[in-house]
Amino acid sequence: MTATDTLPDVLETAASWRDSGRSVALATVVETWGSAPRPVGSHLVIDQDGNFEGSVSGGCVEGAVVSEAMDVIETGTPTTLDFGVADETAWEVGLSCGGRIRVYVEPVV
C-alpha cells in the first residue's frame, strides 16, 4: 500500500461515473512549461453538474477547466486549453507559480 493508493483513481472514477449514468469529461495535462504544479499526464474528471475528482494544477485553474468541461460534455467536442501567467486572462485564472500548462479536455462517451 502506497500513499497514492489512498486517493481515488481518476480514470477508475471516470468509468464508474459513466456507468452510473452521469455525463463525463476527462481533462489531461498534455504539456507544461516552467514550474508547473502537476506533471504531464495528470487527470481531472468532471461530470455534467461540475463535480470533479483529481487535479491538473495546484487548484489554480481547476475552476476554469471544470466550466470548459461542462461545455465539452454539452457539445461532445474535445478542446485544448492553455493557462499561464503570460495569458491575458491571467488576472482571472492563471498559475501563480509562473508556469504554463496546456490541458486537453474530451468527453467520455
Binding site: 480514470l11 498534455v30 499526464g41 485544448t80
Partner: protein
Amino acid sequence: MDLSLLKTLNAERAARRAAILVTDMANGAQRLVRGGDDFHSDPLAEEFARRFRSGKSGLVQTDAGEAFLTVSVPAPRLVIIGAVHISQALVPMAEIAGFDVAVIDPRTAFATEERFPGSTLKADWPEEVLKDAPLDPFTAVAAVTHDPKIDDFPLMEALKTGCFYVGALGSRKTHGKRLERFAEAGLDPALLARIDAPIGLDIGAASPQEIAVAVLGSVIQALRKMPDAAP
C-alpha cells in the same frame, strides 16, 4: 474517449500491465497500445519502446500531426525473498519510499505476522507465490535468505522477466557458486551480470538496518537511472 476504451485501459492498469493511450490531438481519435503488443511496424514504435521504459506521458510529432501519449506503467514493486532481520528494516523503508512491497519466505518460523505486522507476507515457496503474482519489468527482487533452495528460483525468474533490479545477498564466493549454478541451468551470461552482488550500495553497511538502506539505495538507483528514466 470511448467508455469501452477507458475500461480496457483501466483493466490493463489493474492487472499491472503497461499500456499507452494514443490521442490524435487534431481529431481526438484514440487507440490503445499494450506493452505486450507487437508494435514494431508502428510508425511510433521507437517512441513507444522509450516511453514504456520511462513511464512518461507526453506529446509527440507524427507524420499525421500532433499526438498525445498517455503512458501507464505499474507502480514500482519490491519483492523481498526472505523474512529475515534485514527485511524487517527494509519493508517499512521501501514502503515510505513509495514501493509496493511483498515478502516471500516458506520458513514459517521467519514469516510471521508478529515479525512483519501489516505487510504483504507470503509464507510459501517463491515457486508457488510467483504463479499468482508473476514478476515483471516494474518489479525489483532482493533475495536475502542465503539459501539457494529458496533464492535461486526467484532470482532466475527475475532475470528472465526483466525485473528492473535483481539483487542477491551473499559473499563473493557464495555468489560465484550461484553464477555457476545459473550458468548450468542455461541462463545467458549477459543476464547473470545484471545481478547486484554483493547486494546493495557500497556504503560499508554493517547492521541489518544499514544493509536495508544499502539495498534500497541500489533499488532506487536502478529505477531512476534506467535508460530514459523519469527525472
